[in-house]
């Protein structure tokens, strides 16, 4: 698929903390192996029990739009063709408390509203320089 912000938009610089999130092809968050707390963004330490023993949690990726903005002002001339675009904050049904940000792939920017139901989808992009396929989590609006 074409990326919401265009194919020239920067890619995530992968590191040990974010690699699973941006490449797994499922919505992979960080979970404490000791107390099962899920946190985002990932940290070196569990924010609930301070354990260093951290692994992954696969969310089903269903959620609700908790806030939405529409960006109109291009930060630089290269963004003139990208604006307007919407950014959402999404709460997941299976991970209380956490919000993920993203774009909604199947709606016009001004057609996204707080309360909309969304499901995770993925922008697949090949980072040829690093020879890795990225699967960047995004959101599609669903009825109901």
């Amino acid at each position: 698929m074409t990326r919401v912000l265009g194919d020239a938009w920067p890619l995530p610089g992968l590191d040990d903390r974010n690699r699973a999130f941006f490449t797994a092809g499922v919505l992979m968050l960080q979970q404490c192996k000791r107390c099962q707390h899920v946190q985002h963004p990932p940290e070196d330490v569990c924010e609930a029990c301070q354990s260093f023993d951290l692994g992954g949690f696969e969310s089903a990726g269903a959620g609700r739009v908790e806030s939405v903005i529409v960006v109109h002002h291009p930060l630089h001339p290269g963004m003139a063709d990208i604006v307007p675009y919407a950014v959402v904050a999404v709460a997941l049904d299976d991970v209380p408390g956490v919000l993920l940000t993203g774009n909604v792939t199947n709606r016009a920017p001004d057609a996204v509203a707080i309360g909309d139901r969304v499901e995770v989808t993925f922008e697949e992009v090949v980072d040829t320089a690093n020879n890795v396929t990225l699967k960047i989590p995004q959101w599609q609006a669903v009825d109901g």
Partner: protein, 387 residues
């Protein structure tokens, strides 16, 4: 030891539009510091401490050399963010002089974005490349700037409490109206109408152009010393009744329980606890307006109104002028006077205590400054005519 310290002197450079300063940023800092020291009735050699925030360029050693200060006892800078620490910097100076680590600490902020480039532009792209670290999580989705970050909170706050665009407009109109009384203000002689506000372009919903503060060049400084010493100096002291910091979520982190917030709940709790008074005891308030929306949230979190009542609290010009129910951003603030990262609001509060503001509120006993909302740690300081 609340009230043990006071602001004894204030000074500022001329304020300029971004890129308009004939001086370097460091020279602007030196101008503001010299004027604050002179205002206090001190000599540069009396200064033995420096505090600033988000400033790695005008460092204390460089300043000490340039200003002939041979005996530096205290330097400090609050961590993280930017204008959120404007009042934390006063707190750090209060701590130093109250504890006796230094006698006369200069607190200042200088910025020349014409010389050094702009804030709020970082982390974005469009020409390829990579976004790493904390930026990766949100900038990948085009959520990059403070305007966008604060808009995400404001949109939820407005949704939850039925707040209209007019409430945001009122913040900007009040800053512009009060700036018309202040010849230092960059928007002096350039009034804003409600119609022009609504007609201005969208930056990011729900912020129009006039919801966003401009970027400027300039410097402002204040001299903090003990209340006892301040009594013998040139000006009426502005007692530091209380100062406080408080935290919210980490940078680039959004949580359900802090969405729609400016993260000032804890600042309020700490400040009023330290001060022994409440919001309704305040005679005049300066609220850092990076953007209008977070001011509404900060007003609620600081205890001036409920979220459901904030629109009626600010509507129909209720914040404008010296006789407002709550005289607000009386110099024009970041939007109307100049964006000196909120430090112009510290100096304005000192003027309110002295009775010398161009928009002077009546009988000022307590003047509040609330630092930049939406980022953590937040900070606030309450100044008083007496401790």
């Amino acid at each position: 030891m609340h009230g043990a310290a006071a602001i004894a002197g204030i000074g500022e450079s001329t304020y300029y539009e971004r890129g308009g300063s004939p001086h370097s940023e460091f020279q602007l800092a030196c101008i503001a510091i010299q004027r604050a020291v002179e205002d206090a009735g001190l000599e540069l050699a009396d200064i033995d401490g420096f505090v600033s925030y988000m400033d790695s360029r005008n460092d204390p050693i460089r300043l000490a050399r340039a200003l002939g200060i041979r005996n530096l006892r205290w330097t400090g800078s609050p961590w993280s963010g930017g204008g959120n620490n404007s009042c934390a910097s006063i707190q750090a100076a209060d701590a130093a002089v109250s504890a006796g680590y230094a006698k006369h600490v200069v607190v200042f902020r200088a910025l020349a974005q014409g010389q050094f480039g702009r804030f709020g532009q970082s982390g974005g792209g469009g020409g390829g490349g990579y976004l790493g670290g904390a930026f990766a999580w949100n900038a990948i989705y085009g959520l990059m700037t403070p305007a966008q970050q604060c808009a995400l909170h404001t949109a939820r706050f407005m949704h939850d409490h039925g707040i209209s665009q007019e409430a945001l407009c009122e913040i900007s109109l009040a800053c512009y109206a009060n700036a018309q009384l202040n010849p230092r203000a960059l928007r002096y002689g350039k009034p804003l109408t409600r119609e022009a506000y609504h007609a201005s372009r969208w930056i990011v919903t729900p912020f129009h152009l006039y919801d966003c503060c401009p970027e400027n060049d300039g410097a402002a400084a204040a001299v903090v010393t003990t209340a006892e010493r301040a009594r013998d100096l040139a000006q009426k002291p502005a007692a530091i009744v209380a100062a406080a910091q408080g935290v919210g979520p980490a940078f680039a982190t959004y949580t359900q329980d802090t969405l729609g917030s400016s993260h000032y709940g804890q600042v309020a709790e700490h400040l009023w606890q330290n001060a022994g008074v409440v919001a309704q005891d305040v005679d005049v308030a300066q609220f850092y307006e990076n953007f209008t929306g977070p001011v509404l949230m900060a007003m609620c979190e600081m205890g001036f109104a409920s979220p459901d009542g904030i629109e009626s609290f600010v509507k129909d010009g209720a914040l404008q002028g010296p006789d407002a129910k709550l005289p607000f951003n009386t110099s024009g603030g970041n939007i109307g006077e100049a964006y000196i990262h909120g430090f112009e609001m510290i100096n304005e509060s000192v003027r309110q205590i002295r009775g010398t503001s161009t928009c002077q509120a009546p009988n000022v006993e307590r003047a509040l400054v609330v630092g930049g909302p939406g980022y953590s740690p937040g900070s606030a300081v309450l100044l008083g005519a007496s401790a």
